[in-house]
Symmetry: C2
Protein backbone atom coordinates (compact mmCIF):
# COMPACT_ATOMS: atom_id res chain seq x y z
CA UNK A 1 0.00 0.00 0.00
CA UNK A 2 1.28 3.42 -0.90
CA UNK A 3 1.27 6.15 1.67
CA UNK A 4 -0.40 9.42 0.61
CA UNK A 5 3.08 10.94 0.66
CA UNK A 6 4.32 8.46 -1.91
CA UNK A 7 1.32 8.94 -4.11
CA UNK A 8 1.80 12.69 -3.89
CA UNK A 9 5.38 12.21 -4.99
CA UNK A 10 4.31 10.12 -7.96
CA UNK A 11 1.63 12.61 -8.95
CA UNK A 12 4.16 15.40 -8.73
CA UNK A 13 6.60 13.50 -10.93
CA UNK A 14 3.89 12.84 -13.46
CA UNK A 15 2.62 16.41 -13.38
CA UNK A 16 5.96 18.13 -13.65
CA UNK A 17 7.65 15.53 -15.83
CA UNK A 18 10.92 16.02 -13.96
CA UNK A 19 13.35 14.70 -16.51
CA UNK A 20 11.10 11.84 -17.49
CA UNK A 21 7.93 11.38 -19.48
CA UNK A 22 4.89 9.68 -18.02
CA UNK A 23 5.30 6.79 -20.42
CA UNK A 24 8.98 6.38 -19.68
CA UNK A 25 8.42 6.65 -15.97
CA UNK A 26 5.88 3.87 -16.08
CA UNK A 27 8.13 1.64 -18.17
CA UNK A 28 11.01 2.24 -15.81
CA UNK A 29 8.72 1.53 -12.89
CA UNK A 30 7.72 -1.81 -14.32
CA UNK A 31 11.27 -2.91 -14.96
CA UNK A 32 12.43 -1.72 -11.58
CA UNK A 33 9.63 -3.53 -9.83
CA UNK A 34 10.48 -6.71 -11.70
CA UNK A 35 14.16 -6.35 -10.95
CA UNK A 36 13.41 -6.15 -7.25
CA UNK A 37 11.76 -9.55 -7.40
CA UNK A 38 8.57 -8.37 -5.77
CA UNK A 39 5.52 -10.57 -5.79
CA UNK A 40 2.04 -9.33 -6.20
CA UNK A 41 2.63 -6.44 -8.53
CA UNK A 42 -0.73 -5.26 -9.70
CA UNK A 43 -1.02 -6.06 -13.39
CA UNK A 44 -4.11 -4.70 -15.02
CA UNK A 45 -5.55 -5.98 -18.28
CA UNK A 46 -7.10 -2.68 -19.18
CA UNK A 47 -7.21 0.95 -18.10
CA UNK A 48 -7.71 1.09 -14.37
CA UNK A 49 -8.47 3.62 -11.71
CA UNK A 50 -5.94 3.76 -8.88
CA UNK A 51 -7.35 2.23 -5.75
CA UNK A 52 -6.34 2.10 -2.12
CA UNK A 53 -5.78 -1.24 -0.45
CA UNK A 54 -6.36 -0.80 3.23
CA UNK A 55 -6.09 -4.51 3.87
CA UNK A 56 -2.69 -4.84 2.22
CA UNK A 57 -1.24 -4.94 5.70
CA UNK A 58 -2.89 -8.29 6.34
CA UNK A 59 -2.85 -9.95 2.94
CA UNK A 60 0.12 -10.51 0.71
CA UNK A 61 1.68 -12.64 -1.94
CA UNK A 62 0.12 -15.13 -4.30
CA UNK A 63 -3.20 -16.74 -3.36
CA UNK A 64 -4.75 -19.88 -4.82
CA UNK A 65 -8.49 -19.34 -5.35
CA UNK A 66 -8.98 -22.93 -6.55
CA UNK A 67 -10.37 -25.95 -4.71
CA UNK A 68 -8.96 -29.40 -5.39
CA UNK A 69 -11.40 -31.40 -7.49
CA UNK A 70 -12.32 -34.77 -5.94
CA UNK A 71 -15.32 -37.12 -6.17
CA UNK A 72 -16.56 -35.72 -2.84
CA UNK A 73 -16.75 -32.00 -3.47
CA UNK A 74 -20.15 -30.30 -3.65
CA UNK A 75 -21.76 -30.33 -7.10
CA UNK A 76 -25.02 -29.01 -8.51
CA UNK A 77 -27.82 -31.44 -7.54
CA UNK A 78 -28.04 -34.21 -10.12
CA UNK A 79 -24.60 -33.65 -11.64
CA UNK A 80 -22.14 -36.55 -11.77
CA UNK A 81 -19.07 -36.21 -9.56
CA UNK A 82 -15.47 -35.99 -10.77
CA UNK A 83 -13.98 -39.40 -11.56
CA UNK A 84 -10.42 -40.60 -12.04
CA UNK A 85 -8.78 -43.96 -12.65
CA UNK A 86 -5.14 -44.87 -13.17
CA UNK A 87 -4.25 -45.79 -16.75
CA UNK A 88 -0.50 -46.04 -16.12
CA UNK A 89 1.09 -47.32 -12.93
CA UNK A 90 4.63 -47.66 -11.61
CA UNK A 91 4.09 -51.40 -11.20
CA UNK A 92 3.04 -51.97 -14.79
CA UNK A 93 4.50 -49.08 -16.74
CA UNK A 94 7.25 -47.42 -14.70
CA UNK A 95 5.30 -44.17 -14.53
CA UNK A 96 1.91 -42.94 -13.42
CA UNK A 97 -1.05 -41.29 -15.15
CA UNK A 98 -4.82 -41.14 -14.79
CA UNK A 99 -7.83 -40.86 -17.02
CA UNK A 100 -10.18 -38.23 -15.61
CA UNK A 101 -13.76 -37.36 -16.43
CA UNK A 102 -16.14 -34.74 -15.14
CA UNK A 103 -19.07 -32.58 -16.03
CA UNK A 104 -17.80 -29.18 -17.05
CA UNK A 105 -19.36 -27.24 -14.18
CA UNK A 106 -17.51 -29.04 -11.39
CA UNK A 107 -15.30 -27.53 -8.69
CA UNK A 108 -13.83 -24.08 -9.14
CA UNK A 109 -14.94 -23.49 -12.71
CA UNK A 110 -15.83 -21.01 -15.41
CA UNK A 111 -19.20 -20.50 -17.10
CA UNK A 112 -18.85 -19.36 -20.72
CA UNK A 113 -21.54 -17.34 -22.52
CA UNK A 114 -22.52 -20.52 -24.43
CA UNK A 115 -23.60 -22.17 -21.15
CA UNK A 116 -26.81 -20.12 -21.20
CA UNK A 117 -27.00 -18.58 -24.67
CA UNK A 118 -27.24 -20.76 -27.78
CA UNK A 119 -24.67 -19.68 -30.34
CA UNK A 120 -22.67 -17.51 -27.94
CA UNK A 121 -18.94 -17.98 -27.40
CA UNK A 122 -17.70 -21.19 -25.84
CA UNK A 123 -14.93 -20.91 -23.25
CA UNK A 124 -12.02 -21.72 -25.56
CA UNK A 125 -12.96 -18.76 -27.77
CA UNK A 126 -12.92 -16.07 -25.05
CA UNK A 127 -10.18 -13.42 -25.44
CA UNK A 128 -7.10 -14.33 -23.42
CA UNK A 129 -6.69 -10.64 -22.53
CA UNK A 130 -9.76 -11.00 -20.29
CA UNK A 131 -8.00 -13.61 -18.16
CA UNK A 132 -5.53 -11.23 -16.50
CA UNK A 133 -7.51 -8.59 -14.66
CA UNK A 134 -7.75 -6.38 -11.62
CA UNK A 135 -10.02 -7.99 -9.05
CA UNK A 136 -12.48 -6.28 -6.72
CA UNK A 137 -13.56 -8.42 -3.76
CA UNK A 138 -16.95 -7.37 -2.41
CA UNK A 139 -17.59 -8.74 1.06
CA UNK A 140 -21.16 -9.64 2.01
CA UNK A 141 -20.10 -12.20 4.61
CA UNK A 142 -21.67 -10.49 7.61
CA UNK A 143 -25.08 -10.48 5.93
CA UNK A 144 -24.61 -14.01 4.58
CA UNK A 145 -23.83 -15.27 8.08
CA UNK A 146 -27.36 -14.24 9.08
CA UNK A 147 -29.15 -15.10 5.86
CA UNK A 148 -28.18 -17.91 3.48
CA UNK A 149 -30.27 -16.22 0.77
CA UNK A 150 -28.25 -13.01 0.98
CA UNK A 151 -27.42 -11.48 -2.39
CA UNK A 152 -24.77 -9.04 -3.54
CA UNK A 153 -26.77 -5.89 -4.29
CA UNK A 154 -26.05 -2.68 -6.19
CA UNK A 155 -25.69 -1.05 -2.78
CA UNK A 156 -22.78 -3.36 -1.99
CA UNK A 157 -21.03 -2.22 -5.16
CA UNK A 158 -21.71 1.41 -4.18
CA UNK A 159 -20.25 0.82 -0.73
CA UNK A 160 -17.11 -0.74 -2.25
CA UNK A 161 -16.74 2.21 -4.61
CA UNK A 162 -17.21 4.70 -1.79
CA UNK A 163 -14.23 3.12 -0.08
CA UNK A 164 -11.94 2.29 -3.01
CA UNK A 165 -13.05 4.43 -5.94
CA UNK A 166 -14.94 3.47 -9.07
CA UNK A 167 -14.41 -0.11 -10.22
CA UNK A 168 -11.43 -0.14 -12.59
CA UNK A 169 -12.06 -0.85 -16.26
CA UNK A 170 -11.75 -4.54 -17.15
CA UNK A 171 -12.33 -5.61 -13.54
CA UNK A 172 -13.24 -9.09 -12.30
CA UNK A 173 -15.82 -8.63 -9.53
CA UNK A 174 -15.75 -11.35 -6.88
CA UNK A 175 -18.39 -11.91 -4.23
CA UNK A 176 -17.00 -13.04 -0.87
CA UNK A 177 -19.80 -14.47 1.26
CA UNK A 178 -17.77 -16.69 3.59
CA UNK A 179 -19.68 -19.71 2.26
CA UNK A 180 -16.39 -21.56 1.71
CA UNK A 181 -16.42 -22.44 5.42
CA UNK A 182 -18.96 -25.11 4.41
CA UNK A 183 -17.01 -26.50 1.43
CA UNK A 184 -15.76 -29.62 3.22
CA UNK A 185 -19.38 -30.54 4.01
CA UNK A 186 -21.02 -30.90 0.60
CA UNK A 187 -24.51 -31.14 2.06
CA UNK A 188 -24.11 -27.91 4.00
CA UNK A 189 -22.59 -26.19 0.96
CA UNK A 190 -25.51 -27.09 -1.34
CA UNK A 191 -27.94 -26.50 1.55
CA UNK A 192 -31.16 -27.97 0.16
CA UNK A 193 -34.41 -27.28 2.02
CA UNK A 194 -37.26 -29.75 2.43
CA UNK A 195 -38.61 -28.74 -0.99
CA UNK A 196 -35.30 -29.36 -2.72
CA UNK A 197 -34.52 -25.66 -3.08
CA UNK A 198 -30.89 -24.61 -2.66
CA UNK A 199 -30.01 -21.81 -0.26
CA UNK A 200 -26.71 -19.96 -0.52
CA UNK A 201 -25.59 -16.47 -1.47
CA UNK A 202 -25.14 -15.17 -5.00
CA UNK A 203 -25.24 -11.98 -7.01
CA UNK A 204 -28.60 -10.24 -7.44
CA UNK A 205 -29.59 -9.76 -11.11
CA UNK A 206 -29.85 -6.00 -10.54
CA UNK A 207 -26.21 -5.92 -9.49
CA UNK A 208 -25.27 -7.97 -12.56
CA UNK A 209 -27.19 -5.53 -14.78
CA UNK A 210 -25.45 -2.59 -13.13
CA UNK A 211 -22.03 -4.16 -13.76
CA UNK A 212 -22.59 -4.89 -17.45
CA UNK A 213 -24.41 -1.62 -18.17
CA UNK A 214 -22.67 0.94 -15.95
CA UNK A 215 -19.18 -0.49 -15.54
CA UNK A 216 -16.62 -2.34 -17.66
CA UNK A 217 -16.10 -5.87 -16.35
CA UNK A 218 -14.47 -8.99 -17.77
CA UNK A 219 -16.50 -11.29 -15.54
CA UNK A 220 -17.73 -12.07 -12.07
CA UNK A 221 -16.95 -14.71 -9.48
CA UNK A 222 -18.66 -16.18 -6.44
CA UNK A 223 -17.60 -18.44 -3.58
CA UNK A 224 -20.77 -20.54 -3.87
CA UNK A 225 -22.21 -23.02 -6.40
CA UNK A 226 -23.90 -20.43 -8.59
CA UNK A 227 -23.63 -16.86 -9.84
CA UNK A 228 -27.29 -16.47 -8.80
CA UNK A 229 -28.43 -17.03 -5.22
CA UNK A 230 -29.26 -20.70 -4.63
CA UNK A 231 -33.00 -20.03 -4.46
CA UNK A 232 -33.11 -18.21 -7.82
CA UNK A 233 -35.81 -19.37 -10.19
CA UNK A 234 -34.98 -17.15 -13.15
CA UNK A 235 -31.14 -17.31 -13.23
CA UNK A 236 -31.18 -13.59 -13.96
CA UNK A 237 -27.53 -13.07 -13.11
CA UNK A 238 -26.34 -15.94 -15.31
CA UNK A 239 -28.47 -14.62 -18.18
CA UNK A 240 -27.25 -11.06 -17.81
CA UNK A 241 -23.54 -11.74 -17.30
CA UNK A 242 -23.23 -14.44 -19.96
CA UNK A 243 -25.58 -12.57 -22.29
CA UNK A 244 -23.17 -9.64 -22.19
CA UNK A 245 -20.36 -11.95 -23.39
CA UNK A 246 -18.74 -11.91 -19.95
CA UNK A 247 -17.79 -14.99 -17.97
CA UNK A 248 -18.75 -16.23 -14.52
CA UNK A 249 -16.59 -18.18 -12.10
CA UNK A 250 -18.19 -20.35 -9.42
CA UNK A 251 -16.69 -22.05 -6.39
CA UNK A 252 -13.88 -19.58 -5.64
CA UNK A 253 -11.74 -20.35 -2.58
CA UNK A 254 -9.70 -18.11 -0.28
CA UNK A 255 -11.20 -14.75 -1.26
CA UNK A 256 -10.65 -13.64 2.33
CA UNK A 257 -6.91 -13.72 1.59
CA UNK A 258 -7.20 -11.26 -1.31
CA UNK A 259 -7.12 -7.48 -0.87
CA UNK A 260 -10.54 -5.95 -1.57
CA UNK A 261 -8.88 -3.67 -4.12
CA UNK A 262 -5.56 -3.57 -5.93
CA UNK A 263 -4.99 -7.30 -6.47
CA UNK A 264 -4.70 -9.00 -9.85
CA UNK A 265 -6.36 -12.25 -10.86
CA UNK A 266 -5.26 -14.83 -13.42
CA UNK A 267 -8.09 -16.96 -14.77
CA UNK A 268 -6.68 -20.29 -15.96
CA UNK A 269 -9.76 -20.90 -18.05
CA UNK A 270 -10.47 -24.27 -19.68
CA UNK A 271 -9.47 -24.56 -23.33
CA UNK A 272 -11.17 -27.52 -24.91
CA UNK A 273 -13.46 -27.76 -27.90
CA UNK A 274 -17.06 -26.54 -27.54
CA UNK A 275 -16.60 -25.78 -23.83
CA UNK A 276 -19.67 -24.48 -22.02
CA UNK A 277 -17.12 -23.87 -19.28
CA UNK A 278 -14.98 -26.07 -17.12
CA UNK A 279 -12.57 -26.32 -14.21
CA UNK A 280 -10.23 -23.33 -14.03
CA UNK A 281 -7.10 -22.63 -12.02
CA UNK A 282 -7.59 -19.19 -10.48
CA UNK A 283 -4.64 -17.38 -8.89
CA UNK A 284 -4.56 -13.90 -7.36
CA UNK A 285 -1.55 -11.72 -6.65
CA UNK A 286 -2.01 -9.22 -3.87
CA UNK A 287 -0.78 -5.66 -4.27
CA UNK A 288 2.75 -4.93 -3.11
CA UNK A 289 2.71 -3.53 0.41
CA UNK B 1 11.83 -1.85 -22.92
CA UNK B 2 13.35 1.05 -21.06
CA UNK B 3 15.85 3.33 -22.72
CA UNK B 4 19.26 3.59 -20.97
CA UNK B 5 18.34 7.17 -20.13
CA UNK B 6 15.26 6.06 -18.24
CA UNK B 7 17.10 3.34 -16.39
CA UNK B 8 19.78 5.87 -15.45
CA UNK B 9 17.09 8.11 -14.07
CA UNK B 10 15.64 5.28 -12.02
CA UNK B 11 19.05 4.25 -10.72
CA UNK B 12 19.76 7.85 -9.77
CA UNK B 13 16.47 8.09 -7.91
CA UNK B 14 17.17 4.86 -6.08
CA UNK B 15 20.77 5.85 -5.30
CA UNK B 16 20.07 9.34 -4.07
CA UNK B 17 16.70 8.60 -2.54
CA UNK B 18 15.37 11.94 -3.69
CA UNK B 19 12.43 12.36 -1.39
CA UNK B 20 11.49 8.71 -1.58
CA UNK B 21 12.79 5.44 -0.23
CA UNK B 22 13.55 2.49 -2.49
CA UNK B 23 10.76 0.52 -0.92
CA UNK B 24 8.28 3.33 -1.28
CA UNK B 25 9.38 4.02 -4.80
CA UNK B 26 8.72 0.45 -5.79
CA UNK B 27 5.32 0.46 -4.14
CA UNK B 28 4.44 3.68 -5.88
CA UNK B 29 5.71 2.25 -9.12
CA UNK B 30 3.44 -0.75 -8.84
CA UNK B 31 0.37 1.33 -8.12
CA UNK B 32 1.23 3.83 -10.84
CA UNK B 33 1.80 1.11 -13.39
CA UNK B 34 -1.54 -0.40 -12.50
CA UNK B 35 -3.21 2.96 -12.70
CA UNK B 36 -1.96 3.45 -16.23
CA UNK B 37 -3.61 0.22 -17.29
CA UNK B 38 -0.48 -1.20 -18.84
CA UNK B 39 -0.41 -4.82 -19.85
CA UNK B 40 2.53 -7.11 -19.60
CA UNK B 41 4.15 -5.81 -16.45
CA UNK B 42 6.82 -8.28 -15.49
CA UNK B 43 5.74 -9.97 -12.29
CA UNK B 44 8.34 -12.26 -10.81
CA UNK B 45 7.61 -15.04 -8.37
CA UNK B 46 10.98 -14.82 -6.74
CA UNK B 47 14.07 -12.63 -6.69
CA UNK B 48 15.06 -11.92 -10.25
CA UNK B 49 17.98 -10.51 -12.13
CA UNK B 50 17.11 -7.60 -14.39
CA UNK B 51 17.21 -8.65 -18.00
CA UNK B 52 17.16 -6.86 -21.32
CA UNK B 53 14.37 -7.59 -23.75
CA UNK B 54 15.66 -6.76 -27.21
CA UNK B 55 12.60 -8.25 -28.88
CA UNK B 56 10.15 -6.17 -26.90
CA UNK B 57 9.80 -4.05 -30.01
CA UNK B 58 8.13 -6.91 -31.84
CA UNK B 59 6.22 -8.72 -29.12
CA UNK B 60 3.74 -7.25 -26.71
CA UNK B 61 0.73 -7.83 -24.57
CA UNK B 62 -0.76 -11.04 -23.31
CA UNK B 63 -0.06 -14.30 -25.17
CA UNK B 64 -1.94 -17.58 -24.94
CA UNK B 65 0.52 -20.48 -24.86
CA UNK B 66 -2.28 -23.07 -24.84
CA UNK B 67 -3.66 -25.20 -27.66
CA UNK B 68 -7.36 -26.02 -27.79
CA UNK B 69 -7.93 -29.62 -26.73
CA UNK B 70 -9.90 -31.64 -29.31
CA UNK B 71 -10.16 -35.34 -30.23
CA UNK B 72 -7.82 -34.68 -33.16
CA UNK B 73 -4.77 -33.11 -31.54
CA UNK B 74 -1.50 -35.05 -31.40
CA UNK B 75 -1.14 -37.36 -28.38
CA UNK B 76 1.54 -39.75 -27.19
CA UNK B 77 1.31 -42.98 -29.24
CA UNK B 78 -1.22 -45.29 -27.61
CA UNK B 79 -2.94 -42.66 -25.49
CA UNK B 80 -6.70 -42.18 -25.82
CA UNK B 81 -7.81 -38.88 -27.33
CA UNK B 82 -9.86 -36.20 -25.57
CA UNK B 83 -13.59 -36.95 -25.57
CA UNK B 84 -16.65 -34.82 -24.92
CA UNK B 85 -20.39 -35.38 -25.05
CA UNK B 86 -23.26 -33.03 -24.26
CA UNK B 87 -25.08 -33.81 -21.00
CA UNK B 88 -27.29 -30.71 -21.09
CA UNK B 89 -28.74 -29.18 -24.25
CA UNK B 90 -30.80 -26.09 -25.03
CA UNK B 91 -33.47 -28.32 -26.57
CA UNK B 92 -33.90 -30.50 -23.49
CA UNK B 93 -32.67 -28.40 -20.59
CA UNK B 94 -32.57 -24.75 -21.63
CA UNK B 95 -28.82 -24.61 -21.15
CA UNK B 96 -25.72 -26.40 -22.40
CA UNK B 97 -22.97 -28.46 -20.73
CA UNK B 98 -20.68 -31.35 -21.62
CA UNK B 99 -19.08 -34.28 -19.88
CA UNK B 100 -15.42 -34.43 -20.82
CA UNK B 101 -12.82 -37.13 -20.35
CA UNK B 102 -9.15 -37.36 -21.18
CA UNK B 103 -5.86 -38.88 -20.18
CA UNK B 104 -3.99 -36.41 -18.04
CA UNK B 105 -1.09 -35.87 -20.44
CA UNK B 106 -3.16 -34.48 -23.31
CA UNK B 107 -2.78 -31.15 -25.11
CA UNK B 108 -0.89 -28.32 -23.46
CA UNK B 109 -0.33 -29.94 -20.08
CA UNK B 110 1.77 -30.18 -16.95
CA UNK B 111 3.83 -33.13 -15.72
CA UNK B 112 4.00 -33.31 -11.92
CA UNK B 113 6.89 -34.97 -10.04
CA UNK B 114 4.56 -37.93 -9.30
CA UNK B 115 4.33 -38.71 -13.03
CA UNK B 116 7.81 -40.28 -12.90
CA UNK B 117 8.63 -40.62 -9.20
CA UNK B 118 6.52 -42.83 -6.93
CA UNK B 119 5.55 -40.93 -3.80
CA UNK B 120 6.55 -37.50 -5.15
CA UNK B 121 4.13 -34.57 -5.22
CA UNK B 122 1.08 -34.76 -7.43
CA UNK B 123 0.14 -31.62 -9.37
CA UNK B 124 -2.52 -30.34 -6.97
CA UNK B 125 0.09 -30.22 -4.17
CA UNK B 126 2.65 -28.04 -5.97
CA UNK B 127 3.18 -24.58 -4.41
CA UNK B 128 1.02 -21.97 -6.11
CA UNK B 129 3.92 -19.51 -5.84
CA UNK B 130 5.69 -21.52 -8.54
CA UNK B 131 2.92 -20.84 -11.03
CA UNK B 132 3.68 -17.14 -11.54
CA UNK B 133 7.24 -16.86 -12.81
CA UNK B 134 9.64 -15.04 -15.08
CA UNK B 135 10.01 -16.96 -18.33
CA UNK B 136 13.14 -17.43 -20.43
CA UNK B 137 12.50 -18.55 -23.99
CA UNK B 138 15.46 -20.37 -25.49
CA UNK B 139 15.25 -20.59 -29.26
CA UNK B 140 16.68 -23.68 -30.97
CA UNK B 141 14.41 -23.39 -34.01
CA UNK B 142 17.15 -22.92 -36.59
CA UNK B 143 18.83 -26.16 -35.52
CA UNK B 144 15.48 -27.97 -35.19
CA UNK B 145 14.56 -26.99 -38.74
CA UNK B 146 17.55 -29.02 -39.95
CA UNK B 147 17.37 -31.86 -37.42
CA UNK B 148 14.16 -33.20 -35.81
CA UNK B 149 16.31 -34.80 -33.09
CA UNK B 150 17.81 -31.44 -32.05
CA UNK B 151 18.05 -30.95 -28.30
CA UNK B 152 18.35 -27.88 -26.10
CA UNK B 153 21.93 -28.11 -24.79
CA UNK B 154 23.83 -26.43 -21.97
CA UNK B 155 25.48 -24.31 -24.69
CA UNK B 156 22.07 -22.91 -25.64
CA UNK B 157 21.52 -21.83 -22.03
CA UNK B 158 24.98 -20.26 -22.03
CA UNK B 159 24.21 -18.38 -25.24
CA UNK B 160 20.95 -17.06 -23.76
CA UNK B 161 22.76 -15.92 -20.61
CA UNK B 162 25.48 -14.21 -22.65
CA UNK B 163 22.78 -12.13 -24.26
CA UNK B 164 20.36 -11.54 -21.37
CA UNK B 165 22.27 -12.18 -18.16
CA UNK B 166 22.06 -15.10 -15.77
CA UNK B 167 18.71 -16.83 -15.61
CA UNK B 168 16.63 -15.13 -12.92
CA UNK B 169 15.82 -17.04 -9.75
CA UNK B 170 12.54 -18.93 -9.94
CA UNK B 171 12.55 -18.93 -13.74
CA UNK B 172 10.45 -21.07 -16.07
CA UNK B 173 12.70 -22.14 -18.95
CA UNK B 174 10.87 -22.71 -22.22
CA UNK B 175 12.33 -24.37 -25.30
CA UNK B 176 11.14 -22.87 -28.59
CA UNK B 177 11.88 -25.25 -31.45
CA UNK B 178 9.30 -24.09 -33.98
CA UNK B 179 7.73 -27.56 -33.87
CA UNK B 180 4.29 -26.00 -33.39
CA UNK B 181 4.15 -25.39 -37.15
CA UNK B 182 3.28 -29.11 -37.33
CA UNK B 183 0.59 -29.11 -34.63
CA UNK B 184 -2.37 -29.18 -37.03
CA UNK B 185 -0.95 -32.37 -38.59
CA UNK B 186 -0.84 -34.85 -35.72
CA UNK B 187 1.17 -37.39 -37.71
CA UNK B 188 3.87 -34.84 -38.57
CA UNK B 189 3.93 -33.61 -34.96
CA UNK B 190 4.49 -37.09 -33.49
CA UNK B 191 6.80 -37.95 -36.43
CA UNK B 192 7.21 -41.70 -36.02
CA UNK B 193 9.87 -43.44 -38.09
CA UNK B 194 9.55 -46.91 -39.63
CA UNK B 195 10.61 -48.46 -36.32
CA UNK B 196 7.96 -46.58 -34.33
CA UNK B 197 10.48 -44.17 -32.80
CA UNK B 198 9.33 -40.56 -32.35
CA UNK B 199 11.49 -37.74 -33.70
CA UNK B 200 11.09 -34.19 -32.41
CA UNK B 201 13.14 -31.76 -30.33
CA UNK B 202 13.37 -31.77 -26.55
CA UNK B 203 15.72 -30.78 -23.75
CA UNK B 204 18.95 -32.72 -23.35
CA UNK B 205 19.33 -34.35 -19.89
CA UNK B 206 22.63 -32.46 -19.40
CA UNK B 207 20.78 -29.15 -19.80
CA UNK B 208 18.12 -30.35 -17.35
CA UNK B 209 20.84 -31.28 -14.84
CA UNK B 210 22.49 -27.88 -15.28
CA UNK B 211 19.19 -26.10 -14.62
CA UNK B 212 18.35 -27.99 -11.44
CA UNK B 213 21.92 -27.99 -10.09
CA UNK B 214 23.35 -24.63 -11.19
CA UNK B 215 20.28 -22.43 -11.45
CA UNK B 216 17.00 -21.90 -9.58
CA UNK B 217 14.05 -22.91 -11.75
CA UNK B 218 10.37 -23.59 -11.06
CA UNK B 219 10.02 -25.78 -14.13
CA UNK B 220 10.61 -26.17 -17.85
CA UNK B 221 8.42 -26.15 -20.92
CA UNK B 222 8.68 -27.42 -24.48
CA UNK B 223 6.68 -26.90 -27.67
CA UNK B 224 6.73 -30.61 -28.49
CA UNK B 225 5.14 -33.78 -27.04
CA UNK B 226 7.86 -34.46 -24.46
CA UNK B 227 10.42 -32.79 -22.23
CA UNK B 228 12.95 -35.24 -23.64
CA UNK B 229 13.70 -35.43 -27.38
CA UNK B 230 11.28 -37.81 -29.11
CA UNK B 231 13.96 -40.45 -29.65
CA UNK B 232 14.96 -40.56 -25.97
CA UNK B 233 15.18 -44.03 -24.49
CA UNK B 234 16.07 -43.08 -20.92
CA UNK B 235 13.77 -40.07 -20.29
CA UNK B 236 16.68 -38.40 -18.55
CA UNK B 237 15.18 -34.93 -18.63
CA UNK B 238 11.85 -36.08 -17.19
CA UNK B 239 13.67 -37.94 -14.45
CA UNK B 240 15.93 -35.02 -13.58
CA UNK B 241 13.36 -32.22 -13.70
CA UNK B 242 10.59 -34.11 -11.90
CA UNK B 243 13.06 -35.72 -9.50
CA UNK B 244 14.09 -32.25 -8.39
CA UNK B 245 10.45 -31.49 -7.50
CA UNK B 246 10.10 -29.18 -10.50
CA UNK B 247 7.36 -29.42 -13.12
CA UNK B 248 7.44 -29.83 -16.88
CA UNK B 249 5.01 -28.39 -19.40
CA UNK B 250 4.57 -30.02 -22.78
CA UNK B 251 2.81 -28.80 -25.91
CA UNK B 252 3.34 -25.05 -25.48
CA UNK B 253 1.97 -22.84 -28.25
CA UNK B 254 2.99 -19.38 -29.47
CA UNK B 255 6.41 -19.16 -27.81
CA UNK B 256 7.55 -17.11 -30.81
CA UNK B 257 5.25 -14.33 -29.56
CA UNK B 258 6.95 -14.15 -26.15
CA UNK B 259 10.04 -12.01 -25.47
CA UNK B 260 13.12 -14.22 -24.88
CA UNK B 261 13.64 -12.42 -21.56
CA UNK B 262 11.56 -10.21 -19.33
CA UNK B 263 8.14 -11.80 -19.79
CA UNK B 264 6.08 -13.42 -17.05
CA UNK B 265 4.25 -16.71 -17.30
CA UNK B 266 1.14 -17.85 -15.47
CA UNK B 267 0.78 -21.64 -15.21
CA UNK B 268 -2.90 -22.51 -14.81
CA UNK B 269 -1.98 -25.93 -13.49
CA UNK B 270 -4.55 -28.70 -13.02
CA UNK B 271 -5.91 -29.08 -9.51
CA UNK B 272 -7.58 -32.44 -9.12
CA UNK B 273 -6.95 -35.28 -6.72
CA UNK B 274 -3.86 -37.47 -7.25
CA UNK B 275 -2.96 -35.63 -10.47
CA UNK B 276 0.10 -36.95 -12.29
CA UNK B 277 -0.41 -33.79 -14.31
CA UNK B 278 -3.07 -32.54 -16.65
CA UNK B 279 -4.18 -29.89 -19.11
CA UNK B 280 -3.06 -26.42 -18.05
CA UNK B 281 -3.94 -22.96 -19.30
CA UNK B 282 -0.64 -21.16 -19.83
CA UNK B 283 -0.61 -17.38 -20.34
CA UNK B 284 2.40 -15.10 -20.78
CA UNK B 285 2.57 -11.35 -20.37
CA UNK B 286 5.29 -9.64 -22.35
CA UNK B 287 7.40 -6.92 -20.74
CA UNK B 288 6.16 -3.37 -21.09
CA UNK B 289 7.89 -1.67 -24.00
Amino acid sequence: MCSPKVMDYVRQQLATGQGISRRSFLSAAAVTTAAAGLTGTSLFAQGATPVASPDASVVSGIVDLTYTMTPDIPVWPGNEPFQAEPVKTFANDGFYAQKVSFWEHTGTHLDAPAHFHDGADTAELLPVENFVAPVAVIDISSRAAEDPDAALMVDDIMAWEAQYGELPSGVFVAMYSGWGARFEDAEAFVNLDADGVQHYPGMHPDAAAFLVEQRSIVGIGVDTLSQDPGNSTDFGTHITILGAAKYGVEGLANLDKVAPAGATVFIGAPKHQNASGGPARIIATNPVR
